[in-house]
């Protein structure tokens, strides 16, 4: 009997482990901000996500998201070099940004509010990210204030130059969801 139980436990554990994996090639993580009124788009090329989610029990779900800050690009070498610098992402000392969910609340069919902690450059903020989930693809966007995380510090802190509001948009495709 004991053996049977442990065998079952191992089996369910194995199932859970292979449950969901992010498909990076089908996923996007981008952001938009305004520079003297001009919309500027950028993206992160490298990011990972661990998702533990059952549509029947969304409240029990969990998501952990990690972004490689060094993979940021605005598509312009001069801007990218600046963004890696200490006043912006300071990628030498802060390689990763993380988001860890604390609760997932269903708000409609296929719609959820994911609350959690976003940590960038050592600063943590509670954010609520509304997402839409369909066919294994989670889509959503969240507005953050760059100065909450000292992104664009010092001479760049002037928000008439670079707006404080940044919209982060994502499309995360999961296999096995």
């Amino acid at each position: 009997m004991k053996r049977l139980i442990s065998a079952l436990l191992i089996a369910t554990g194995a199932l859970a482990a292979q449950a969901t994996t992010l498909q990076p090639e089908k996923s996007d993580l981008s952001f938009t901000f305004k520079q003297m009124g001009v919309p500027v788009d950028g993206k992160f090329k490298k990011f990972e996500a661990q998702l533990d989610f059952d549509a029947k029990r969304p409240e029990a779900g969990k998501i952990a998201f990690t972004v490689d800050l060094g993979s940021v690009s605005l598509g312009d070498p001069a801007f990218d070099k600046e963004l890696a610098g200490s006043l912006w992402f300071d990628t030498k000392r802060n390689g990763k940004a993380t988001f860890v969910s604390s609760s997932i609340k269903p708000t409609g069919p296929g719609k959820y509010d994911v609350a959690g902690k976003l940590t960038i450059k050592g600063a943590a903020r509670d954010v609520v990210v509304p997402i839409t989930l369909a066919q294994g693809v989670a889509v959503g966007s969240v507005g953050i204030k760059r100065l909450d995380f000292k992104i664009g510090d010092g001479e760049w802190a002037d928000t008439s130059m670079v707006a404080n509001d940044v919209t982060v948009k994502f499309k995360l495709a999961f296999a096995g969801l």
Binding site: Q35, M36, V38, V40, M161
Partner: protein, 179 residues
């Protein structure tokens, strides 16, 4: 009072001097900003330069319309080749009043930075984001701007020569002094 045929209309004179100032300003800022390291100052100057360029483009359109619908003063007596050169330079100046800002606008669009006039009015992109095209347009914008600089220098030198060597009162046509 002077007879109206000896000088340009007050609107033409006002546009001439306003645009002279604006073009000299935009040109100087353009020369200065490209050598700056990446900084808020550099981005600020780039935006101001673009706003100035679009303003110059709009005022030049107004000016051309005015020029085409109003009489210009009679030519001063001078050798025929000088008249031809003066008129040719005026024509080329008008061409570049449009070519310089338009190439700059297209360059900005191709580089992926649409122009938002005075940070308020988003302008359309006539070309999409395209790195190679941006490089070509950058070169075109620089060449056109340097061409405009040369023409302005010739135009100013000729005007000063008339005013101070020939002493024919040429500048009165543009509202400076009496004919």
């Amino acid at each position: 009072m002077m007879s109206p045929a000896t000088r340009y209309t007050p609107v033409a004179i006002a546009l001439h001097w306003l645009l002279a100032l604006a073009i000299a300003g935009a040109f100087s800022v353009g020369l200065y900003m490209t050598d700056l390291p990446f900084s808020p100052t550099r981005l600020k100057l780039y935006n101001w330069h673009k706003w100035a360029g679009v303003t110059i483009l709009a005022l030049s359109a107004l000016r051309l319309l005015w020029r085409l619908t109003h009489r210009t003063p009679a030519d001063l007596p001078m050798p025929a080749w000088q008249l031809r050169a003066a008129h040719l330079i005026h024509g080329l100046l008008y061409l570049l009043f449009f070519a310089v800002p338009l190439s700059g606008w297209a360059y900005s669009s191709a580089a992926g930075f649409p122009i938002v006039w005075f940070g308020v009015l988003p302008l359309p992109d006539f070309v999409g984001k395209d790195k190679e095209l941006a490089e070509t347009l950058k070169l075109a914008h620089h060449l056109a701007a340097y061409g405009l600089g040369l023409l302005v220098t010739a135009h100013v030198a000729a005007a000063l020569k008339h005013q101070f060597i020939d002493r024919d009162g040429l500048l009165a046509r543009m509202g400076v002094g009496r004919a």
